[in-house]
Each structure stands twice: as structure tokens, then as C-alpha cells.
């Protein structure tokens, strides 16, 4: 019970930080909204989708997934900052559950995601995004997004604890998230890519997540090289499998890393 309470105190700390420095919240919502606008109006005109409602219908799930994928970077750099300032040592010298700090942080970053996704959803609606499925499916899609962000947050914990310098953390995080989000179906159909790349892109967890969200928002998915394969037929299941794999690998690894943080 204490472990849960301890984690929540840490989560609350992050919310307090946002209250004390509201700029952080403002900029973490402005950036994805800016992406929505840029992609919608820069590429929107030139990408042929054949989708009723146009490119923005395909774009929004892609941008949602990209945004929650970037939670990895937020978690990693937040933790690296705590390491640098010696805060981690203080927390580790307290009589609290050893995982409280990292569990609390992953929860806090997910809470931030709720706000960001809500603002993006509204921005998307304003520029023409209209999911055609039911309320239940839409809620399910957002839950998927939150869990995906939460799973990647654990990768961020591992990166944050591993790197020795906050700038390295930035670089590593982007090195992970950029190819992951762009080598996917998030912004452009994979069918335009060279065939070998299509396999990579379509098996990419970001793509299965995007495909799952599109399905939940009521869209048809288009696959190239892997059409008819398991991930293309079952993007929801495949996404769940990916999230489980990420958590199974990174939760224990991160907890272990945290326990030995100063050895």
C-alpha cells in the first residue's frame, strides 16, 4: 500500500512542477498541435489518400502515436535531470519502495499525455478530423495511446538511468523515436516505400499502433508488402503484444538499473 502512496507522491511532485512552471505544459501541447497544423496543411494537399474526409483522417492517428512515442524522451530527460542533481540519491536514501520514484514518474508522464492528447484532439477537430466510429471505440483508441506511451516511458526510464549526461539522453531518445515514428505508416502510406523497407515499416510497433487507432477511429488500413500478414490483419492484438513485450523487457531492466544506480 505504501508503495502505491509513495509513487503517487512522486506523481504529484510532477504535477506540482507543471503548476510552478506552466510553460512546460504549454510547450508540450503547442508542439504536437503545431505538427498537426504543419502536416495537415503542408502535406495534406499533395498526399492522395482516397479516404473520405481527406489526409487529416489518416494523419491524426499518426500524430497521436508519434506524440505518445515521444513520452520516451520526456521521461528519459526528466529522470536524467534528477540523476544529475543528486535527487535520485536522496530518494534512494528514504525509507520508500525502491521503484516508487520510477513508477511515479511514468504515471506522471502519462497524466501529461492525457492533457496533450485532449488538446490535440480538439485541434484536429478544428482542422477537419472526424472519427466515424462510435464513442466506445474512440475511448478505446485513446486508452491504447495512453498505454503505448506508458510502455515507452519505461524505455525512457532505462535510457535516463543509463546515460551519464542529460544531452546524451536527448540525443539517444531522438535516435530511438525519430526513425521509429517516421519509418512507419504514420505520415505517408508505406506502399510508396522501397519494398524491403515496407517490411520494416509495417512491422514497426508504431505502424501497428497507428493502424490500430485508424481502425478504432473507423478507417480502412492500407498495407503494402505485408498485406494479409498477422500484424496487418490484427493491428490491435499486435500492438498489445508489442506493449507487453516492451514492458516485460524494460520494467525489470529499469528497476534493476535503478537499484544499482550508483554502483
Amino acid at each position: 500500500m505504501n508503495a502505491v502512496m509513495d509513487s503517487l507522491v512522486i506523481t504529484k511532485r510532477q504535477l506540482l512542477q507543471l503548476a510552478r512552471v506552466p510553460e512546460v505544459l504549454i510547450f508540450s501541447t503547442i508542439q504536437p498541435v503545431m505538427f498537426v497544423l504543419l502536416f495537415r496543411y503542408v502535406f495534406g494537399g499533395s498526399i492522395e489518400t482516397g479516404q473520405p474526409g481527406g489526409y487529416v483522417q489518416l494523419l491524426m492517428p499518426g500524430i497521436f502515436v508519434q506524440t505518445v512515442a515521444f513520452t520516451l524522451a520526456a521521461t528519459a530527460s526528466g529522470l536524467a535531470e534528477d540523476m544529475k542533481k543528486g535527487l535520485i540519491d536522496r530518494f534512494r536514501s528514504l525509507p520508500i519502495s525502491r521503484s516508487a520514484l520510477i513508477v511515479g514518474r511514468t504515471l506522471g508522464d502519462s497524466l501529461l499525455n492525457i492533457v496533450v492528447l485532449a488538446v490535440m484532439g480538439i485541434a484536429g477537430y478544428i482542422v477537419g478530423w472526424r472519427p466515424t466510429s462510435g464513442v466506445f471505440s474512440i475511448i478505446l483508441a485513446f486508452l491504447f495511446l495512453l498505454f503505448f506511451g506508458y510502455a515507452l516511458s519505461w524505455v525512457g526510464i532505462y535510457i535516463g538511468l543509463s546515460a551519464r549526461d542529460a544531452r546524451v539522453v536527448q540525443n539517444v531518445s531522438f535516435l530511438v523515436t525519430f526513425p521509429l515514428t517516421f519509418l512507419s505508416n504514420a505520415f505517408a502510406p508505406t506502399t510508396g516505400m522501397p519494398r524491403p523497407l515496407q517490411y520494416v515499416a509495417e512491422w514497426n510497433p508504431v505502424s501497428t499502433m497507428v493502424a490500430a487507432c485508424r481502425q478504432l477511429f473507423g478507417l480502412e488500413n492500407e498495407f503494402g508488402a505485408t498485406a494479409g500478414s498477422f500484424p496487418s490483419e490484427n493491428p490491435l492484438t499486435m500492438s498489445l503484444i508489442y506493449m507487453a513485450i516492451i514492458m516485460i523487457i524494460f520494467v525489470p531492466m529499469s528497476v534493476k538499473k535503478y537499484k544499482n544506480a550508483s554502483n
Binding site: M5, R20, K85, F91, S93, P95
Partner: protein, 319 residues
């Protein structure tokens, strides 16, 4: 009763290539202050981190308040307070936010955490800045807040790792005042420092460590005695040097040494002020005027020098 015991601690880094601790042993009597004194890299921080359960030693034993540090770290954490070299508090939050948060993490309920935070802010003269973010605090205020955070549940044993490193003289004086108050309150304190006068000022006992080992232990006075008694020092004009050397040598019964640059003649003396008077009388009868004269007790710097054969490498103070 020994509240802190460390026996034969060995800690290596980098797969055994760097030996931070090489069989270090020390203990702290309940209610006393032990200062661990040593230059950078001597193993001070490693010792504190092991005792505070942040590091596991390669071998050796340690206990705090009778609890084995390696076997029951979670129980040790309930009775210790740790304040490190860097103020380990959340800089974006206010002082009050931080203390309430740490209070909650010590499992105080909301009201108790708030009450304790207010008390501590008052005790450390931070009430006025309580609602300001830490990043607006001065170095000294940060350290005081950091120290306050380690006192939330009145720990049995307090570890302070270089509590004044990087502070300006005023901040250091304030910190010393705060620590002396705590000691009066009866806390058992282990304090590391590279400032010899800090150990002198605050500690009941001092252990001097170098290269991961204890090389001397005792009270500040005992350590100074180990180096020798007082020295008589006299500074004279250039033309009077040779005569003065002869006088000081004769009266002290020891060979007098000369620092040419400072024109300072000095020699160990056993009779203290008697010798001083005698030297002055002899100089007077020879018509020599002393520009400066005095008896100097050895400083801990001298102790360190004579124990390790090298000066304490005190880092430049960084702000």
C-alpha cells in the same frame, strides 16, 4: 554504544581497477560527531554512500544504529538522514513543497507533513522564502533546505557529506551554526570534509583518511600533539636574520629554520611562552627589532601534511 560501525570496507570501481576504499574501518559513539577528513578522492563520499545504503561494498561490514547496512538497508533508511555535496532538492518546487513532499515520503500524513515543514523552515530561518522556488535560493539557503529535508523524522544518525563545500565564508559560518545546534540536540553525526578547520570546529573525533584507508584517528588536540608541540616564529629585518637564527636556536634547543622569502625564523619549543619571552629579551639586548612574533600551534593542515606526506588538496571553491 557505537552507533555507526564500519569494518574493513573495500569498494572498487571499474572492475577492480580503481580502489575507492581499501579496508576502511571507523566507528561513531552515540551522540558524538565524527569528522572524516581527507582530500578529494580519499574515499569520503564512498564511505558515506555505503553507510547510507546507496552503495554495496565489495567486502566488509557496516552497521548503523545496530542494523546491518548490507542485510537490512530498508531498515537503516528509516533511522538515517543524508545530506550530500549537492543540494538534492527539486529546484522547480518551493522550499515548502519540497519539505512537504519529503514528509509524505517519510509516511507522515498530510497535516503532520505540513506541520513538520513549517517547523523546519522556521528552525532554518527559511520561513520568508518558503513559497519561492528553490532555484531562487542562495547556495547557503539551498544547503540549509537540503539539511532540513534530511531531518524530517529526526534521524538517529545524520550523514553530512561535505556540507559546506562550495559555500562562501558567510554561508559556511551559517551552516556551522546550524550544525552545532543539531549536535546540541544530541544527534549522532558523521560529517565528511576537506576543510581542516571545519573538522576542528565541529567534531569530537576526527579520522583522517587517504587512499581509502584511515591513517590517523583522535581528537583534534590529540592529532595536533602527534605532530609536535608549539612552534616559535619570529620575523625580522634582513640584516638581523643570522643573529636571530642563533638566538632562537640557542633558546629553543632545536635547530631553527628560516623561510627566506618571509624572513621568518621558526623552531619547535617545549616551554611555550617562556621561550617566547626569553627570545624577545635576548633580541632586545642585541638591539634587534622583531617585526612579528608568535607561538603557533600546529594546524590540522600540518597534521595532514605530516601524516600523508602531501598537503591536503583542497579544491578551488566553486559556486
Amino acid at each position: 554504544m557505537k552507533t555507526v560501525i564500519a569494518e574493513n570496507l573495500v569498494k572498487t570501481y571499474n572492475k577492480g581497477n580503481v580502489k575507492a576504499l581499501d579496508g576502511l574501518s571507523l566507528d561513531v559513539e552515540e551522540g558524538t560527531v565524527l569528522s572524516v577528513l581527507g582530500p578529494n578522492g580519499a574515499g569520503k563520499t564512498t564511505t558515506v554512500r555505503i553507510l547510507a545504503t546507496l552503495l554495496t561494498p565489495n567486502s566488509g561490514h557496516a552497521s548503523v544504529a545496530g542494523i546491518d547496512v548490507i542485510k537490512h538497508p530498508e531498515r537503516v533508511r528509516e533511522v538515517i538522514g543524508l545530506s550530500g555535496q549537492y543540494a538534492a532538492v527539486d529546484e522547480t518546487l518551493t522550499g515548502w513543497d519540497n519539505l512537504v513532499m519529503f514528509g509524505r515520503l517519510y509516511h507522515l500524513n498530510k497535516n503532520a507533513a505540513v506541520k513538520r515543514a513549517d517547523e523546519l523552515l522556521e528552525q532554518f530561518s527559511l520561513t520568508e522564502s518558503a513559497k519561492r522556488p528553490i532555484k531562487t535560493y542562495s547556495g547557503g539557503m539551498r544547503r540549509r533546505l537540503d539539511l532540513a529535508a534530511s531531518l524530517i523524522v529526526k534521524p538517529k544518525v545524520l550523514f553530512l557529506d561535505e556540507p559546506t563545500t562550495g559555500l562562501d565564508p558567510r554561508g559556511r559560518q551559517e551552516m556551522w551554526g546550524v550544525i552545532e545546534e543539531l549536535v546540541k540536540g544530541g544527534v549522532t553525526l558523521l560529517l565528511t570534509t576537506q576543510y581542516l578547520e571545519e573538522a576542528d570546529q565541529l567534531a569530537d573525533d576526527i579520522v583522517v583518511i587517504d587512499h581509502g584507508k584511515v591513517i590517523a584517528r583522535g581528537t583534534s588536540d590529540a592529532l595536533k600533539k602527534e605532530v609536535g608541540g608549539e612552534r616559535l616564529e619570529v620575523v625580522v629585518a634582513q640584516g638581523d636574520i643570522s643573529k636571530t637564527l642563533e638566538i632562537v636556536g640557542r633558546i629553543s634547543g632545536n635547530k631553527a629554520t628560516l623561510d627566506e622569502g618571509l624572513r621568518k625564523i621558526s623552531a619547535p619549543v617545549s616551554t611555550g611562552s617562556m621561550a617566547l619571552m626569553e627570545v624577545l629579551r635576548s633580541m632586545d639586548s642585541e638591539g634587534i627589532h622583531a617585526l612579528d612574533v608568535g607561538l603557533k600551534r600546529p594546524s590540522l593542515d600540518d597534521v595532514f601534511m605530516s601524516l600523508t606526506g602531501h598537503a591536503a588538496e583542497v579544491e578551488e571553491v566553486k559556486s
